[in-house]
């Protein structure tokens, strides 16, 4: 047993492929997850994130590639031989055991006789000490979720895997648990690998996010990196919303490209362009846009000739659909924090933004990739 707990270090997936017949769930995936980090695998249903997690847990064997933890190859070891524990999507608590025995299960299997102190500590951590004698069915969803977490954490694994752990909770409880999970991760200092389809959840909790699509990693980085400077249309649309405008690089100006968007010139920082040739999509997040009346002076990039198509008042902000001369509707989020009277439908406006916010994608991409995904559907599919 001693050698089990001594395995630790970075988790390294090297060229992992998992196929089921003709279908490739995970395709040549390589990934290093540093020890002690909170890592999220984010993607829509069927992107291979859960399969990846199950291979790390040992519940599936990769078709090709290796998985190692520190210097130990664990590709083909059995789940019970790995210092890795999982918080399952629907918790999978043992219905015939009390909460105390559920949490003690892993400790007892490893031959630890005196489990009381550790179990009590784990229960304290999730603030459910008073429920130790109950059965799982007598607990609410949120409580079961915390017990599932305590049952995994009590073993002090080198790696804790969380498979959509908050998927079954309602929105309010989910927000609360996100903060608690993050706090617990800091408190216990374990490596957390979190699988989710909820981009907000991933952004709130993780230090590093890998966005997955069709069995491959689209982009890996900190939440801010991914949001501010997405590399692909899939990431730009899946992580928040983006306005992608077709254009061509028509010239250079120092560190900037001059980009032609349907006849109007804007500037784009060279290091924020992921394009391979002159054909690009210029991307701007909706909240980076400012709307102004034709007479108002603007700074930064400017697109003129817009017409307000639709206004929705959200409270903290107002969302506008602005029809541009080339027929595209742009989405604009305006904070309701200034004295500017709200714009009304049919008004002629200009759109401006600070040029540093522009990012550029390859012009041959599908501008709608990652857009059509409905979160509700994902939950259904994963079950």
């Amino acid at each position: 047993m001693a050698e089990k707990t001594s395995i630790h270090g970075d988790l390294r997936l090297s060229n992992i492929t998992k196929s089921y017949g003709d279908f490739t769930a995970v395709n040549d995936l390589s990934l290093t997850i540093p020890e002690g980090s909170f890592f999220a695998l984010l993607g829509p249903s069927g992107c291979g994130k859960t399969t990846t997690l199950r291979m790390v847990a040992g519940l599936e064997e990769p078709t090709r590639g290796t998985i190692s933890l520190g210097n130990t190859d664990i590709t083909f070891t059995k789940p019970y031989q790995r210092p890795i524990n999982t918080v399952f999507q629907n918790y999978a608590l043992f219905p015939h055991l009390t909460i105390f025995e559920n949490i003690a299960f892993g400790l007892r299997r490893r031959g630890i006789k005196d489990v009381k102190e550790q179990v009590d500590k784990a229960l304290e951590l999730v603030e459910l000490s008073h429920l130790a004698g109950r059965k799982p069915t007598q607990l609410s969803g949120g409580q079961q979720q915390r017990i599932a977490l305590a049952r995994a954490i009590v073993n002090r694994p080198a790696l804790l895997l969380l498979d959509e752990p908050l998927g079954a909770l309602d929105l309010k409880l989910r927000r609360q648990m996100q903060i608690e999970l993050k706090w617990i991760q800091k408190e216990v200092g374990l490596t957390f690998v979190h699988v989710t389809h909820d981009q907000e959840e991933a952004m709130t909790m993780a230090d590093t996010i890998a966005v997955m699509n069709e069995g491959e990693i689209e982009q890996l980085g900190s939440p801010a990196d991914l949001y501010d400077n997405p590399k692909t249309a899939f990431v730009a649309n899946f992580l928040g919303q983006s306005n992608l405008i077709k254009g061509t690089i028509s010239g250079n100006d120092g560190d900037n490209h001059i980009v032609d968007l349907f006849g109007q010139k804007i500037s784009l920082a060279k290091n924020r362009s992921h394009a391979v040739d002159n054909s690009i999509y210029a991307g701007i997040r909706p909240e980076k846009f400012r709307i102004s009346r034709l007479s108002t002076p603007t700074s930064g990039n400017l697109l003129s000739g817009g017409k307000i198509e639709d206004v929705s008042y959200i409270g903290v902000s107002t969302q506008y659909q602005v029809l541009m001369p080339w027929g595209q509707e742009l989405m604009v989020f305006e904070q309701n924090d200034d004295a500017v009277a709200p714009f009304s439908v049919g008004e002629d406006v200009n759109i401006s933004w600070e040029s540093g916010f522009t990012f550029a994608l390859r012009g041959d991409e599908d501008a709608e990739a990652g857009m059509e995904v409905e979160p509700e559907e994902i939950i259904e599919d994963d079950e």
């Binding site: 019970y80 399952f88 999978a92 043992f94 299960f105 299997r109 995994a152 509700e376």
Partner: protein
């Protein structure tokens, strides 16, 4: 999520249905009436009759089969002392048949529930298939299978597992084998129902929490399937203890069970009081054993 919401709305609507005035408080009793009437006519009444027969004695100088009520409770003691060997044998055979049926049915039910995939329904039909032919015919068929002309005896003789002079029919082996076979579906179906309900993710969780396959079986699968084990063993043990067909067809006078004694007392010797007393003793013994067993197994906690 949608599914759950749908289910809970179903629950809600069924609750409101029952409140919605169509049913008066008397309805449940009216619905119970046909069943109660049936039970009274064909169970309570005969049982009461049997009870009062059990303490009768022969009419002095009367015909065979004429008895009068004398409240002779000693009938019970006499009947038991006279037949304690058959009693012991009944419970021994029933216990053996139950153990063998459990040993065969558990892996079978487990395989159907977890490993059968698309074959699940086909296999379940196969488990029930023997019911399509008569219980008697199947038991008689066993006589042939285990007989001198069958393939089992020569095969075992050639392998020197049994001596050339040993036969398998008319033996305790044949009776227990017959009972095991006949009650196998009653063991398999409740086991299957209970194993099929186990969430396979709890087994994955067990593996994830350092339990190997055997420990997972011992600590998770078996405890979670206990309701099926209890139901299956009861459905096998109770009828097996009172069975007389297997012993009559596959056994010999040395393998007589209490069911055979009751049958011959009733229909051949026409000794109604002893037959009735034996029936009651058998019923009471089974009732006590089953109560103790259910208490010990503690299934009420497993839902």
């Amino acid at each position: 999520m949608l599914k759950q919401a749908w289910k809970s709305s179903q629950k809600r609507s069924s609750k409101t249905m029952s409140k919605s005035g169509i049913s008066s408080p008397r309805t449940p009793y009216l619905l119970l009436l046909p069943g109660m009437g049936f039970l009274f006519t064909f169970f309570i009444w005969p049982i009461a009759n049997l009870a009062q027969t059990s303490t009768q004695t022969p009419v002095a100088g009367g015909d065979t089969g004429s008895y009068e009520q004398t409240l002779r409770w000693k009938n019970y003691i006499d009947a038991f002392v006279e037949n304690k060997e058959q009693f012991g044998r009944s419970f021994l055979y029933a216990a053996l048949a139950t153990i063998f049926a459990l040993t065969i049915a558990y892996p079978l039910a487990y395989a159907i529930a977890f490993k059968a995939g698309k074959m699940k329904n086909v296999l379940l039909v196969l488990v029930v298939a023997p019911f399509f032919t008569s219980f008697l015919l199947r038991t008689i068929a066993w006589k042939q299978i285990l007989g001198e002309q069958g393939f089992v005896v020569p095969f075992l003789r050639n392998l020197h597992i049994i001596a050339p002079s040993t036969t398998l029919t008319s033996s305790a082996f044949a009776v227990v084998a017959g009972m095991t076979y006949n009650f196998l579906p009653f063991m398999t179906l409740p086991l299957y129902a209970s194993i099929d309900r186990i969430d396979p993710r709890t087994l994955e969780a067990s593996g994830d929490l350092y339990a190997n396959g055997f420990t997972t079986f011992r600590k998770v699968t078996l405890p979670l399937s206990m309701p099926g084990v209890v139901a299956g063993t009861l459905l096998t043990f109770i009828p097996a203890a009172g069975d007389y067909v297997n012993a009559a067809i596959l056994g010999s006078p040395e393998t007589k069970m209490i069911g055979n004694v009751i049958e011959s007392r009733f229909f051949k010797i026409v000794d109604y009081p002893t037959a009735a007393a034996l029936s009651f003793t058998l019923m009471a013994t089974i009732l006590i054993l089953v109560t103790v067993y259910i208490r010990k197994a503690g299934t009420e906690e497993l839902v």
